[in-house]
Subunit: 387 residues, 2 copies
């Protein structure tokens, strides 16, 4: 690598002068193949992340050769019986591409988390926090020899939401919108705006001016420095034909990566204040997942009782069908009762699995919390050098 290393990286658009285009909600593989063909001259490398029943919807187009590809499908992603929401069928995931640019190892992550359908009564909160934790863990464990880490995607979380804080505190990723020198686009960087004709007032809920739920996040290891020179969003409609590209505004970032002398390293190791913020957010996430576990267990128990009562009902219907008095009623109720037993049984199994998934994330959080607290306690000992 040259000593005076400098790299400019343009990210996240379908405009052909960008290095990377990272898309979400491309549900049809045919659409991806069409785009791949159309863009093949400018973006020779591309990948579609297959997952679930419908697909993760994630794909990427790159001007630079993709060296390595891997993906992780989130353990929890909503409920199969919430057909109107549909997230469960997508198999939401995080995809990783490793690029080598002038000797620099760049790990690019693209993801899409579970949607928030009601902010007041968000039944998917525990799932989204678990996804944010799995995303953070996946980034931490797969980026150990990366010089620069870039995460782009639709996180379906506001900037101060628990999952977003957990992700940023645990990975050290910084928000391009908060750090850019030059921002142009919709007010407050919102990516769901009322001027977009695909966005209804109901989608925005208590935020009629718009919400920011799509992100470009980045970090560099010691020895490198990354900053966002410009960040742009579209603003609700395409100037050419008046139709927006999507219901979300696109983000376009120009990032610069440079060598930084060790003394100017802008990302110091976890100091006492950072550690205390991390511990606080880990605790909050642990508590939130605990509520999720309790709810999952309640539903599993409820569905279990319904299954048992449904079995009793089936026995009763058999007895009635043998007798003469209520044979017709018994035969009519037979199919719905079998449906009740099977449906409730499936719901019971699903929520038991959900509880197990939440417990798993809780155990990982607990392990990290214990370790961080131990380091904090050691750090406060006067005879030890500050960590």
């Amino acid at each position: 690598m040259k000593p005076s290393f400098s790299l400019r990286l343009k990210v996240f658009n379908l405009n052909c002068c960008f290095d990377l285009a990272l898309l979400q909600e491309v549900w049809s593989e045919q659409d991806f193949q069409y785009l791949r063909q159309k863009l093949s001259l400018t973006y020779p490398d591309a990948h579609y992340f297959r997952s679930g029943l419908i697909g993760s919807g994630l794909c990427v187009f790159s001007r630079h050769p993709i060296q390595e590809i891997i993906q992780h499908v989130y353990t929890l992603n909503g409920y199969p019986y919430m057909i109107c929401h549909g997230d469960w069928f997508c198999g939401k995931a995080v995809g990783l591409l490793v690029l080598h640019l002038n000797g620099l190892v760049l790990n690019v992550y693209v993801t899409h988390l579970h949607a928030e359908y009601s902010r007041q009564k968000d039944i998917y909160l525990a799932h989204r926090v678990t996804q944010a934790w799995e995303l953070a863990q996946f980034i931490q464990h797969t980026s150990k020899n990366a010089d620069v880490v870039l995460l782009c995607g639709d996180l379906n979380m506001h900037p101060k939401d628990l999952g977003c804080c957990l992700l940023k505190e645990w990975t050290g990723l910084r928000d391009a919108y908060a750090e850019t020198q030059d921002f142009k686009g919709s007010e407050d960087g919102c990516t769901m705006v009322p001027s977009n004709c695909y966005v209804s007032q109901q989608d925005l809920g208590p935020f009629p001016l718009g919400i920011r739920i799509d992100y470009v996040l980045y970090k560099a290891v010691a020895g490198f420095y990354i900053y966002c020179k410009t960040l742009k969003t579209t603003t609700g409609c395409d100037p050419h034909n008046g139709t927006p590209l999507s219901d979300h505004e696109a983000l376009m970032a120009t990032l610069y990566v440079k060598h930084s002398p060790p003394q100017e390293d802008p990302s110091p190791a976890h100091g006492p204040s950072e550690r205390s913020a991390l511990i606080s957010v880990l605790k909050e996430a642990w508590t939130e997942l605990g509520l999720g576990v309790a709810q999952a267990r309640w539903w599993a128990a409820f569905a279990g009782y319904v299954t048992v009562w449904g079995l009793f009902l089936l026995v009763l219907l058999c007895v009635l069908a043998v007798g003469e008095g209520a044979r017709e009623v018994a035969i009519l109720l037979w199919t719905p009762s079998v449906g009740l037993v099977l449906g409730a049984g499936a719901v019971c199994i699903f929520h038991r699995q959900e509880a197990r998934g939440l417990c798993r994330a809780q155990a990982e959080l607990q392990h990290v919390l214990r370790r961080e607290k131990k380091t904090q306690d050691l750090g406060s000992e006067p005879h030890l050098a500050p960590s």
Copy 2:
């Protein structure tokens, strides 16, 4: 780290003088908690990997503090309707522990892959090969700053099986049994032996003398050297009470890690012959998964047709029930027909998801194949230095 670095690591037993005990098929979390309590003095750190409906069955006990924990649940793991085999319900996974031993970073992986119920007609082959590939990918992407990598577990594959070769070729892991200086135990290192009273002749199939499907695999990065001083297996029964600990024989390895001067580095980068072996096994795996995709699509299509015919049958039954002639027959056939539609619909959805999972692994294999072939072609150019 001391310059004359040397580390002895004893792995894989419940005997208290070992550093790490890695267990599979501990299906009950209560059993794990019991073991954790009993072993807490000798093994202060322990972890149970929760997953699926029953659990992954994986747990680990460590004499050294576990620094980091993460797990990956395999995308494909058998069929939910194969209740007698049950693998689907376990949510089989790979667990990773990161340990720091005298400054050395040790990544320990523990796993359990899908069982092979019939070697002649192995309907799970494509799933097991996909699991082996996901395992290899997970190891490659999460061990980038590890000095030593250790993989232990029940791979349910013979040493020369496709999945086993794929795993070893892609990760560079070496087999303790093939390399140890001192082996004691069952013949040919078998871990399922006929002298074990829990093993039936049917389990061994065409290998009446035993099979080797449990492994200790390892590698070290340049600068370190790892070797297996002793490897032992139990031999079918406990000398104290005559009852084996499990239906598989336990493996006990004593591994040594030492600094190696660069010129003595025993694990050179991929040369032309290693690359050619890798390409060959990648191709074979790609072909095998292609057969799996075709089969999954056939089942999805078949179940789809059955669903459509079932719907026709329901309409016909409605018509018959309205008339007088065959009302009783129509009412009797109603419940089985609804069951047929729902069951066939679920099977169709499941196999579509299976095909997508296999395609995903195929796409990753294809990407690696393309890159490796490119490097091979470049390497054969006379004006280039050998890679």
